[in-house]
Structures are given as structure tokens and as C-alpha cells.
């Protein structure tokens, strides 16, 4: 890789140089993203040409484990099955279709550029890289755009009924951070339709006998031998049995870790255990502090609500966000005249208005709420108003675009968005951070691949709306099926690791030991008690803004909570049958470790970038201020060594990021 850009970091982020930090982490080495030498727009073709192939008659001799059946996992499994590989698919759900991709609403981007609004692959890359505040890999974004063109064709073919114009062509709309229309959709349930189509494609391979489905089985560890990923250890959630499965390669597609904030839009069962166990076994963790706060979730309504509900970003196409101009104005919103409404996004960002990227919208909404302009019974929301859209487009068209979202809102709040503005508030939603992987989507452990949200790559420090469905689909359908076989090709003739191998037995024993420890806790507080406390710490210190003076405090609080967890954890019941308390306890135990790394990364990254908004790095206009000279790299955290001088301290390695097509510049949505 050539470092032709002036942005190559000189000091590798050592600027802060406080002794505090040195007590917490070690600065490691530069790592190589294995990016093709070709120009960014030619890189993917170049790499595909260099990939090794496996003869069709040899493919069934290779076993690949895929963990997770969301968009990336179901697609990778199905595509590898279609090619003829033997695929073992694991999911903690009862059936593949439940994976949380199903809940994505608004749409999937694809730079098909059919309209004359001047879209192109280059513009898609520019939007994605700039939207991510230059902390993702530009060359990955090119691949995403290039393969993204045919994703729509494939998903349509396997059953996703994309919205159509009256002329019979695919319909599309615009999304945040973008000035063209490249988002394809199926009403407000695009994730559901893509997920069901992919899960059904996986079902087709199950019926064909190429994919073997292991449902209600949760991955609890990764088997590594001689530095290579050889398999996984799972717990059967019904019988409690712990067992190992070995393979020639392992693909993790286990989703994001946003649920670590406890009250997030993620599903109740979404968790970080698979990727955290991989990290503990040697996989690097990229940018854990890059967490997206979605601007338009429903505000919390009751103390018992443990899960926030998302309202699609697509609503910002036609809905206008406002707060009253007067503090504490608690009149019926319909009685507040226009002159007394503050459409603050349109006022502050005239060019993008309500469609500014998510991090910008969330910060502005939280600022209004915290400044005393919040609305609703708990004063914890702002309005998202469709009055003008209904006047302009008519209720029928608005209903066609958003009916299921309006129904969902009505179901949850008892209010009708056709007559009363929605109340919305920011909520943790997506994690741009995840396991570090190279250009081939392989982690720092050879043989361990990632796809979808559990990886990093495209989205940098902030993901654009409708790019997550795209990345899940592209990773699973059109990237991993090229790169995984190239890795397998070198292993022709090799068997998978036998189940009685010492490395396998040891990993199983480790898992059993951890389960026994959870069951043998002090019996004071249930796992949710700790999950909620941890969430509150992260929300307080590491949410829409991060104050470096306070972050060490957060680390102290997390450590204290972790100690208390292992002293006081109470898991009712036994491990030899279905036990949801035990499942939760294991996930919370891993959150308590990951949370410290998340905060450490927030403290270490001495700049603001996208969703990572440090209070000490702000432009005159109050926007995130990057430090390109020192921080144009991805932090790839390596688990602490057990002994030696750096014992107990995570090592922050770095992969420099090079921008050839989209020159570094300050984001400006005004």
C-alpha cells in the first residue's frame, strides 16, 4: 500500500500523551489493510482477478461455519451453498428470518444512477466517505457501490417486492446526507423484505442439503489453533448442551453491539458475545467508540420500557422537525402557530435541512431537549410533523409511503400522526465499530471473516441511512462468496480439526467454566440490573458527546460494576435446560468488558469525527472537528497480553487510511 496522501499520520495519535492514557493502553504497530494497489475504482476487479478459485467438484469438501442469519449471514450462507460448499449455519433464533435486519425500515441505497439527478458510483463513494467523516476505507466504499448496483436486481428476483412507479420501474427516494435519490424501498419495511428474501434463499439451500441449519444455538467461543480460526463452541439454548463444531473457515455475521447501552433500538437478544469472544482470542476490534445515535426514535414512555422503537429516517424526507420557540411550551402542537415554531434543522442547515446526517441531527435534537425546549409529558422529545406533506401530497400518497410506520407509532403511543405530529428523540442505533477486517473481510485471525454490522469498514465514524442494508447484502451476496473461497483454496486436502483435538477440548472447557461461574455467583442481583446500570454509564459519558475529563471516571465506574457483577450476579435455575437468565448473564458479562474498551477508545481518539463528538474538539460553528494530521487511521485494538510489561492493557494498533478519490475536507451541510 502506498502512502501518497499527505494525511498519513505523523504522530499516530500520540498527541494526548497523558500518563493517564499510558496507564490504560499501549500504542501498538501499524497494520496493513491488504488493499489492492490499483486505483480505488479498479481495486475490486483487480482483487477478484487475483483470488484463487476452487473447482466445483472440490467445493463440497470444504466446510464453512456461518454465525448469524441476518442479511449478511443468511446471504453468505446461501451464496456459498449455491456455489456448492458445505455450510453450517448457526442462529440463536428459532428460525433464520427473525434476525434484527428484519427491523430496518427505510430502504437500501444503490447507485444505479438511472435518474438525471446526477448520481454515480463516485458520488455514492463521496457521500459514504464524507458522511463517515473520513474514518472508513475509501476503497471498501467503492466495492460497496459497485456491487450495490446488482444487489437490487438479486433481491428483487428472490422475492423483495420493491416499490414501483406507475410506469412499472423501480421507485426510489432520498435519504439523509445525500442530495440524490438512490434509496430503494418496500414501504417502511425494507429490512423485513430483504431479510425474508435472504432467509428464504437460505431455506432453499437447506432443502438442497448444502446448508445445515442449527437454530437456537448460541456461539460462546471461537476455536483458534496455530493462529488460525478452526471452529466455534456453541450452547444449545434448549438442552443447555455445550459442543464444538470445526470447519475450514468461520464467518461471523452477528450484528452490532448497540444494545450495550441497554435502552437502544436494537432487539432484546442482539449481543456482542460472538465478536467479543473473537477479540479475546486475538481478533482486532476496530473503532469501538463509533456508535451511531439515531435521531428519530420514539421517546421513552415508561420506566419498564427496556427497548426503544425506531422511526425510519425516511420520514425525514417528508416530515419536518421542530420544537417550540418558547421554552416549556406545552400547548397542543396543532395550536402552536408557524411563527412560534422553530424548524431548527432547516434554520441551521439550509442546504440539507431535515436531511442532515444522523449524527448532526441527533446532536441538534438532544441540544434542544437539554436546553429546555423538549415536548411531551416527559419533555424528552421534539416534533416530527407531516402536516405540510399531507397538504402538499395528499393523505393517500403519504399513507402509501409510510403507512406501517404511522400504524406502528399509533400502536405504541395511541396517537395518529395524520392529525398530531410525532414525538421523536435520539437513541443508540448502530455501531460503526466492530471486528477489524482487511479488504477481503478477513479479521486478524486467518480463517475468521466478518460480514455486516459486526465488522467495520464502510461507514467510518457515521453511517449514512440505507447503507447498512446495502452493506449486509453486498457482504453476504457479493463479497464473501469471492474472498472466502480464495482462502479455502489453499487448504485443499486438509481435514477440519478433529473434535478431540486439545485446542477444541480446551475451548469447550473454557465455555463450561464460564457458565459454571455465572451460575455460582453471589445471588444478589439479576443480569438486567447490571445491564441497566452499564447502559446508564455509557449514556451519561459516551453518547452524543464525550468529555475527555470525565471519561476516566466512566472507566472507573465500569470496572467497579464489573467487579460487583462477578461478586453479586444472581442466575436463577440451572444450565442444563432453557434458561434465559443465564443467556442474559453471559451477554452482560461480555458487555461489561467491551464497555471499557469503548470508553477507552473514546478517550484515546483525541479528535472529533462523525458520531464521536469530543467536547474538546469543536469547530467555531459547533461541529465535529477532526484532526487529520494525527488521526487519519482506524484504531484496531488488540486484546491485552496476559504477562509482560503491557500486561492487562489493550494494544491500539492502527491502519492508516488513504483517500485518493475523495479529498479530505471538513464536512459542511449548511
Amino acid at each position: 500500500m502506498t502512502h501518497e496522501s499527505a494525511s498519513a499520520p505523523a504522530k499516530k495519535g500520540a498527541a494526548m500523551a497523558s500518563t493517564d492514557l499510558d496507564a490504560l493502553r499501549v500504542v501498538g504497530r501499524e497494520i496493513d489493510g491488504n488493499v489492492p494497489d490499483a486505483a480505488p475504482d479498479a481495486a475490486w476487479d483487480d482483487r477478484k482477478l487475483h483470488y484463487n478459485l476452487v473447482n466445483p467438484s472440490n467445493r463440497r469438501k470444504f466446510t464453512v461455519i456461518v454465525v448469524g442469519t441476518g442479511l449478511a449471514g443468511a446471504a453468505a450462507a446461501a451464496a456459498l451453498g449455491e456455489l456448492g460448499y458445505n455450510v453450517e449455519v448457526f442462529s440463536f433464533h428459532d428460525v433464520p428470518r427473525r434476525a434484527h435486519s428484519v427491523a430496518a425500515q427505510g430502504g437500501i441505497n444503490s447507485p444505479r444512477a438511472r435518474r438525471v439527478d446526477n448520481d454515480s458510483i463516485e458520488r455514492f463513494v463521496k457521500d459514504t466517505v464524507k458522511g463517515g467523516d473520513y474514518r472508513g476505507r475509501e476503497v471498501d466504499a467503492f466495492r460497496l457501490g459497485q456491487e450495490g448496483v446488482r444487489v437490487i436486481d438479486h433481491m428483487q428476483a428472490i422475492g423483495a417486492p420493491f416499490a414501483r412507479e406507475y410506469g412499472g420501474q423501480l421507485a426510489n427516494r432520498s435519504f439523509g446526507g445525500v442530495q440524490v435519490s438512490r434509496t430503494y424501498y418496500t414501504r417502511g419495511q425494507t429490512g423485513q423484505q430483504l431479510e425474508i428474501a435472504s432467509a428464504h434463499a437460505l431455506s432453499r439451500q437447506v432443502a438442497a442439503g448444502t446448508c445445515h441449519l442449527h437454530s437456537r444455538q448460541e456461539m460462546l467461543d471461537l476455536i483458534v489453533k496455530d493462529g488460525r480460526a478452526r471452529g466455534i463452541v456453541v450452547r444449545d439454548l434448549v438442552s443447555g448442551t455445550v459442543r464444538a463444531m470445526t470447519a475450514h473457515a468461520v464467518v461471523l455475521a452477528t450484528g452490532g453491539y448497540g444494545h450495550i447501552y441497554y435502552k437502544a433500538t436494537l432487539a432484546k437478544n442482539s449481543n456482542a458475545t460472538a465478536i467479543w469472544r473473537a477479540y479475546k482470542r486475538g481478533a482486532y476490534f476496530a473503532n469501538p467508540a463509533f456508535v451511531q445515535i439515531h435521531p428519530t426514535a420514539l421517546p421513552l414512555m415508561s420506566q419498564w420500557q427496556s427497548k426503544k422503537i425506531l422511526m425510519s429516517e425516511s420520514l425525514r424526507n417528508d416530515g419536518r422537525i421542530w420544537a417550540p420557540k418558547a421554552k416549556g411550551d406545552d400547548r397542543d402542537p396543532n395550536l402552536i402557530p408557524d411563527a412560534q415554531r422553530d424548524y431548527f434543522l432547516e434554520r441551521r442547515y439550509p442546504a440539507f435541512g431535515n436531511l442532515v446526517p444522523r449524527d448532526v441531527a441527533s446532536r441538534n435534537i438532544r441540544e434542544r431537549i437539554e436546553a429546555g425546549y423538549g415536548v411531551g409529558p416527559l419533555k424528552n422529545a421534539v416534533y416530527l410533523d407531516f402536516r405540510d406533506a399531507i397538504d402538499r401530497l395528499g393523505a393517500k400518497l403519504v399513507r402509501e409511503r409510510y403507512s406501517n410506520l404511522f400504524d406502528m407509532y399509533n400502536e405504541q403511543t395511541g396517537e395518529d400522526p395524520f392529525t398530531t405530529p410525532m414525538r421523536i428523540a435520539p437513541s443508540v442505533h448502530f455501531t460503526m465499530g466492530g471486528l477489524w477486517s482487511d479488504y477481503d473481510m478477513m479479521t486478524s485471525i486467518p480463517g475468521l471473516f466478518v460480514g455486516g454490522e459486526c465488522g467495520w469498514g464502510y461507514h467510518g465514524a457515521n453511517r449514512l441511512g440505507a447503507n447498512s442494508l446495502l452493506s449486509g447484502c453486498v457482504d453476504g451476496w457479493f463479497t464473501l462468496p469471492y474472498s472466502v473461497p480464495s482462502f479455502l483454496a489453499g487448504q485443499l486436502g486438509e481435514d477440519v480439526l478433529p473434535l478431540d483435538d486439545p485446542a477444541v477440548r480446551q475451548t469447550v472447557a473454557d465455555v463450561e467454566g464460564r457458565i459454571a461461574r455465572l451460575l455460582g455467583g453471589g445471588g444478589v442481583h439479576p443480569p438486567d440490573y447490571f445491564a441497566e446500570k452499564l447502559g446508564a454509564i455509557l449514556d451519561r459519558y459516551a453518547s452524543v458527546s464525550r468529555d475527555p475529563a470525565e471519561l476516566p471516571d466512566a472507566i472507573g465506574q465500569i470496572r467497579a460494576l464489573r467487579e460487583q457483577f462477578w461478586r453479586d450476579i444472581k442466575v436463577i435455575g440451572t444450565g442444563d435446560r432453557l434458561n434465559q437468565e443465564l443467556e442474559t448473564a453471559g451477554r452482560v458479562a461480555d458487555y461489561l468488558e467491551l464497555a471499557e474498551l469503548l470508553v477507552l477508545d473514546a478517550l484515546d481518539r483525541d479528535e472529533s469525527a462523525g458520531a464521536h463528538f469530543r467536547t474538546d474538539h469543536v469547530t467555531e460553528d459547533g461541529e465535529a472537528m477532526r484532526d487529520d494530521a494525527n488521526w487519519t487511521f482506524v484504531s484496531a485494538w488488540e486484546a491485552p497480553p496476559e504477562a509482560g510489561p503491557g500486561a492487562g492493557k489493550p494494544i491500539r494498533n492502527y491502519e492508516p487510511l488513504v483517500f485518493k478519490a475523495v479529498p479530505l475536507q471538513q464536512r459542511n451541510y449548511k
Binding site: 446471504a75 449455491e82 433464533h93 428459532d94 428460525v95 433464520p96 428470518r97 427473525r98 434484527h100 428484519v102 427491523a103 444505479r112 438511472r114 437490487i152 436486481d153 438479486h154 428483487q156 428476483a157 428472490i158 422475492g159 417486492p161 420493491f162 416499490a163 414501483r164 412507479e165 406507475y166 412499472g168 423501480l170 414501504r187 419495511q189 429490512g191 423485513q192 423484505q193 425474508i196 434463499a201 431455506s203 432453499r204 437454530s215 434448549v238 432487539a267 432484546k268 437478544n269 414512555m301 415508561s302 419498564w304 427496556s306 427497548k307 422503537i309 406501517n404 406502528m408 400502536e411 405504541q412 395511541g414 457479493f478 439479576p526 438486567d528 436463577i572 435446560r577 432453557l578 434465559q580
Partner: protein
């Protein structure tokens, strides 16, 4: 608000279950039924009793994971709303609410309120799929689909796979589920290629594990995705069509 919850407790498929009564004294109108169960479990754990096993995931009505019978009605008293969207405000102070697992021969109980719904997935595996491999699809813009047809396909594709239709049916039939998939794919350009073959194989698998249609229509009232009752007419039509044409498409 005070509520008495009569909840089905069953340790495993091998032992008989029973209803147990619990009192909640601080239920609130804005709680969903799942949050009410969370509240109950919190109470049980404090008393060192095993919490009630029940399933849920997205809690926003799209994943289809949750599913309970409430006073004998799948998901709860409001029609076409999943359990996560049903609220305590439907009940009055002092009410007794009976919470049971989905009741159907095709859904064996695993534990407490959790049932095995993989029978529905086997209907999909039998043919609810489209035989197009990754990368081989034609350009979706060259295949014209009318606006109306795309919208109609989505009405049926909206099924969340929760199984409420099966539980609602006195015969434990899966007609609404199967008919919805047949109709969805029959409206899609590539789906049409195997329309006849699909009808034969999916219906055969459905009849293997689930009961016959009751002709009453309570399934459509229970369906949280609002799948139209015409899915059942579709199933019968597709069955006849496949029988008469004897072709794959």
C-alpha cells in the same frame, strides 16, 4: 393498577403444565404486555423463583418472535396487533388476565410460553423460495411491475411469521401463512416461474404438519401484519390451478 396474571408454567415438553396465578400491584396503562411479563419476572427473581420463559426480540412488531395467547386470543385483545404492541390499557384495574403459549398441535411447547414454530419454516423450505442464484438475476428495471401489483405483493409479503393465525384457528391450520407466501410470490416476475410446483409442494408440507382450514376467518383478525383473508382463497385457487395445469409455472 392491580392485575392478576394466570400464567402457563411448564418445565419441559415431557411434563404436564399448569396455570399459576400471580399478582401485579403496580401495572401501568402504558406498559406493553411484554413489559408486564418483564415486571412479573423481576418480581419472581426477587423472590428467588424461576422467571416465566417467553420469547421476544424487536419489540416493535416486525420480527414475529413474540407470541402468547391472552385470555384465549393470540397476542391479545386488540385485533391485528402483536403482543409487543398490546398494552395494559386494554384491561381494567382488578382484571384477571390469562397468559398461555400459542395453542396448536403444530406448535409443541418447549417451556412455559415458548413453542416450537419451525413447522412454518419447513413449509417455506418445501418451496416458498425462488430459484435464482446470486449474481444471475436480470436487471430489475427491465422487468416491469405495475405499481398496483408491487403494492399487492407487499400486502401478502408483510407476514411476520409469528404463527398467530395457526393459534387462532380451532383446527390449527396454517392456511393464512401458506396462502400469503403463495400470493406474494405469484405476483413477482421470477416467482411466477415455479408457481404451480410451489403450490403443490408447500400445500403438501402444510397438510403434513397443520390442520385443515376452519372456514371461520379468525386467523385474519389475529394477524399482526394484516394479511388479508383472501390469502386463503388464493391457496385454494393455486391448489386447483396447479392441479389442472400440471405445469411448473
Amino acid at each position: 393498577m392491580r392485575l392478576i396474571l394466570e400464567v402457563w408454567r411448564q418445565e419441559s415438553p415431557r411434563v404436564p403444565g399448569r396455570l399459576e396465578a400471580y399478582e401485579i400491584t403496580d401495572a401501568r396503562e402504558e406498559m406493553s404486555l411484554l413489559e408486564l411479563l418483564d415486571r412479573l419476572n423481576h418480581q419472581l427473581v426477587e423472590e428467588n423463583q424461576e422467571p416465566v420463559a417467553f420469547e421476544s426480540d424487536c419489540r416493535e412488531g416486525i420480527c414475529g418472535t413474540c407470541g402468547i395467547d391472552v385470555n384465549g386470543v393470540p397476542h391479545g385483545p386488540e385485533n391485528n396487533v402483536p403482543a409487543c404492541g398490546q398494552h395494559v390499557r386494554s384491561f381494567a384495574d382488578g382484571d384477571t388476565v390469562r397468559i398461555e403459549p400459542f395453542r396448536a398441535a403444530g406448535f409443541p411447547i418447549i417451556r412455559d410460553l415458548i413453542v416450537d414454530r419451525t413447522g412454518l419454516d419447513r413449509i417455506i423450505q418445501a418451496g416458498g423460495t425462488v430459484a435464482v442464484d446470486a449474481g444471475t438475476a436480470t436487471d430489475a428495471d427491465t422487468l416491469l411491475v405495475t405499481h398496483e401489483q408491487a403494492e399487492a405483493a407487499l400486502d401478502f409479503a408483510a407476514c411476520i411469521g409469528c404463527g398467530a393465525c395457526v393459534s387462532a384457528c380451532p383446527n390449527g391450520a396454517a392456511y393464512l401463512f401458506t396462502g400469503a407466501k403463495l400470493q406474494h410470490l405469484a405476483l413477482m416476475p421470477h416467482g411466477k416461474m415455479e408457481r404451480g410446483k410451489r403450490a403443490r409442494s408447500m400445500i403438501a408440507q402444510m397438510e403434513h404438519e397443520f390442520g385443515p382450514c376452519s372456514q371461520i376467518g379468525e386467523c385474519a383478525l389475529a394477524c399482526p401484519a394484516g394479511v388479508p383473508l383472501s390469502a386463503i382463497a388464493t391457496l385454494n385457487k393455486e391448489r386447483l390451478r396447479a392441479l389442472l395445469r400440471r405445469k411448473d409455472n
